[in-house]
Symmetry: C2
Subunit: 194 residues, 2 copies
Amino acid sequence: MASLPDPKPPSGAADLENPVTDPAEPSSADPAVTSVVRRWRREDLTEKAGLILRGLGTLFSVIAFVVMASNKHGDWQDFDKYEEYRYLVAISVLAFLYSAAQLGRQVHRFSSGKDLLSPRTSVFVDFGGDQIIAYLLISAASAAIPMTNRMRQGGDNLFTDASSAAISMAFFAFFALALSAMLSGYKLSKQTYI
Amino acid sequence: MASLPDPKPPSGAADLENPVTDPAEPSSADPAVTSVVRRWRREDLTEKAGLILRGLGTLFSVIAFVVMASNKHGDWQDFDKYEEYRYLVAISVLAFLYSAAQLGRQVHRFSSGKDLLSPRTSVFVDFGGDQIIAYLLISAASAAIPMTNRMRQGGDNLFTDASSAAISMAFFAFFALALSAMLSGYKLSKQTYI
């Protein structure tokens, strides 16, 4: 939500001598055109930021899933003996599926220029979906922390280290999707109905 | 985000016979005026819904705080011996302070007609604030659940019952604030820059 710096400050003197300075932007002197170009740039930036955040969400949630699901060392050191850890596995799979699907949709939109949903639906799906998955991720990560803390008081081992790693990854996925939800809210506010 | 039902469907025949049917809406025949009136009603409704949700958030978080903070029955049955329960107390106080402040601001706006913040800032503060407090509340409630579950496997008593009640109240406060965040997102999308 930071205001974007204008890359080309209006330099009146240069314009008078030489009205068309940059061949790539032939009509930079026209304020209406400048405004539209700036809006395109801004939309492009939020689009790219959304893509990166979803990509990070996908990556972190799949790492959380893999690390936790492979965390079986026999005896009491099996992740599936603890409801917190099973919950974390379930939610990280869900987060992975959601963010991979969103990523696929966005890449398809980039390549074909067409969205699978109408622009209006799309903004609301982005906004609601990111927020719900972010709530689930922080819930799963928070639930798994106290038990891991208690186990680590008895000493660290492979099992507790892997659990901590998976929890951290789930938190990173949460941050990515929470930022993505904030960005979708920002997009909502910039939506035009022309 | 449900579409609001139009309370007065346009009945062409009645309009022809009797153009002014309702004295409260003298210019319902003029489409521009109807549209403005409908927008006022919609804004009024989202404003009231926001007020109710913040009120519920305040109520539930203060109950969660009081129930958990008074949950001391000696020996192992003291809430402050468990980090999950201390976290829940801290977050429910924070949620109470935030939603009470927001409620106060909104009531002040209703009574005086002036907001303490500019409309633009206000929408972003509402949106970001509700979301952050909702994340904290679901995190605290989720963290406190597994321990309470394990204790209740050994048998229910006053301590576990009070803990469960406080957790439920924190969840209700979370739902109220998460809905309020969604509503703020909807308001963002309806914001006009005229």
